[in-house]
Amino acid sequence: MNKAIIKKVVALYLGLAIMMLFSNKVRAEQETSDKKIIHQQVFNQQVFEQLKQKYQGSRWLMLLWSVDCPPCMKELALVKKLQQQKQDLAVVIVNVDSDEESEQQRQAIIKHFELTQLTHLYFRDGFEDHSRYLIDPQWYGELPRSYFIDEAGTFHGKSGLVTKALLDKWLLSSRA
């Protein structure tokens, strides 16, 4: 009688272990495919506040881009180079396109520049200007737009392609 119970319990635990192993495998596969799909989150006030908290006291960069902006590709290429020099860059990349039509394009561009490891956000459809205003009421939508955020949390906005030297200084120096 006892043996039978022990057998049943063992079988159950074994089954459970196999199932957990399987689910871990599923999860691992999922994580791999997620990297391919790219984690993207809708930009909103809450997400923005979370980001500011996450990087509180340190330097970071917020880069805004669009698939309709050729110079933005050059800036993404600079971030790609920087990433080869330093892992875990304090860079948040925000796409301003939001519409369904450009979603595939933006995925392809992020993959092309091998930036899947970074945090990616995108503006909500129909709320592009709301999102822009939330970041900076004095930004008129010109791109690329880079915000250099210092240790005190102050945003320094710059329109147009920035130099690699400036990005290096901001993100690679020992204070970063």
């Binding site: 159950l12 459970l16 957990m20 369904e100 200007d129 709301h130 205003y133 329109s159 392609l161």
Partner: protein, 423 residues
């Protein structure tokens, strides 16, 4: 009894654990479903259906007989509606009967529609190609007031996979159709020689569909009718162009040019009248990027050129209006339009009978406002600016259209629909 309970309990725990683990493992999938953004966000409009409220851009124009047409793109097709009462009521949406193809329709880039006096309807648009930032300028023509349209042809004659986009189109009194666009062919040629390349070029092509029995059938090898001509090189790559015909019948073009080290200023030229373009803005906006803000141009019967533009330079920020009596060589002191601190942007302007109307958008943080200002003395003085409409969920750029000495504003409000009103 106890053993049975123990067994059942273990099974229950196991099942719960499995259930708890597996959904978590798959939860990632849910975040990556195609966004059901159209439903819900735009008041339950089903954007699988043809509906102007699903459009990102609308282009409106009056035909010579007074019908107001509005044109938009959805699902790789062009649709239009007509109104015989200045936009109060529209016919059911009708598809332009041409094969499906990609159509650029957002922000500064959008399909165009124009008319001649003899039942001719002209369409042009940019068709994205297989590589990023490549497109062709496409054209289709109806000789029977829109009953039938010709198979689209490509207007750019370079046969190159490069940028051809931001098309503008104007049909003049003689029925000449002028198409101008931003063209990447010169940049591509420069790149192949490994020399420094800066910006795009403006190309234009002109044809008259009433002459020579042109059919626009690609098999007729008639693309030669639209002979491409370079207007200027070294322009900004992502701002719309503005065109109008002057009192001598020549086409004038206003665009954002790149001067020196990425100083993006507006420039103007009148085709057939000058070799060198005139620089018209001196706001000193240095940006190696995309302003995504073009200007507007309207030329009156006295050949006064009215201009509006937008800059964010060291020396000038915001929307500006000025006019010129010598085709842009000299201008009046630019007048600041709208409230710069309130995101005043995307101005459009039109003149008729000495009345100059300017519209633009501002943003309060929660809603877009459409503003209007009018001059009744040909641009000397303007009435105070007023808000004429608002939008809650984002909005397209506003445009003014004139017909029979009246002007109207066309404004697409995302999710709300197309707003048309007499100014």
């Amino acid at each position: 009894m106890i053993l049975v309970k123990k067994n059942a309990l273990l099974s229950y725990v196991a099942v719960c654990m499995v259930l708890a683990v597996i959904p978590e493992a798959f939860s990632g999938h849910h975040q990556h479903q195609p966004k059901a953004k159209t439903v819900g966000e735009i008041n339950q409009i089903d954007c699988q259906q043809v509906d102007i409220r699903c459009a990102k851009t609308v282009t409106s124009a009056f035909s010579p007989k007074g019908d107001l047409w509005r044109l938009w793109s959805q699902q790789q097709a062009l649709y239009y509606q007509r109104s015989t009462d200045n936009g109060a009521n529209f016919t059911a949406a009708k598809r332009i009967a041409i094969p499906d193809e990609k159509i650029s329709a957002r922000n500064e880039n959008r399909p165009k529609i124009a008319f001649d006096k003899a039942q001719g309807v002209y369409l042009s648009w940019a068709m994205p190609r297989e590589r990023k930032y490549t497109a062709d300028i496409r054209f289709s023509y109806s000789k029977d007031d829109g009953k039938t349209f010709s198979l689209p042809v490509t207007i750019n004659d370079d046969d190159l996979l490069t940028g051809h986009s931001f098309n503008e189109m104007l049909v003049d009194e003689q029925g000449n159709v002028n198409i101008v666009w931003l063209d990447g062919r010169l940049k591509l040629a420069k790149q192949s020689k490994k020399s420094a390349a800066q910006g795009s070029a403006i190309f234009m092509a002109t044809a008259n569909m009433k002459k020579g029995g042109l059919t626009l059938n690609p098999e007729d090898n008639n693309q030669e009718t639209f002979v491409n001509k370079e207007v200027v090189n070294g322009t900004c790559v992502c701002c719309r162009l503005a065109i109008d015909v002057n009192s001598k019948g020549n086409l004038a073009i206003l665009w954002r040019h790149i001067y020196g080290d990425n100083i993006r200023e507006f420039a103007i030229t009148t085709v057939n009248e000058q070799q060198q373009a005139y620089q018209v803005s001196y706001d000193h906006w240095q940006i190696n990027g995309c302003p995504h803000q073009g200007g507007a141009l309207s030329i009156d019967d006295t050949n006064r050129y009215h201009l509006v533009w937008f800059n964010q330079g060291d020396k000038g920020k915001g929307i500006f209006y000025a006019h010129s009596d010598d085709a842009g060589k000299t201008l009046t002191t630019p007048l600041n339009i709208g409230e710069q601190a309130a995101q005043a942007a995307h101005a459009h302007m039109s003149e008729y009978n000495g009345i100059v109307d300017i519209v633009w958008t501002q943003f309060t943080g929660t809603e877009h406002q459409l503003w209007h200002q009018r001059s009744s003395d040909n641009g000397q003085t303007f009435t105070p600016a007023i808000v004429i409409a608002t939008a809650k969920k984002g909005a397209d750029r506003p445009f003014i259209l004139t017909h029979k000495n009246k002007s109207y504003v066309s404004w697409l409000r995302f999710g709300q629909g197309h707003w048309l009103s007499q100014l």
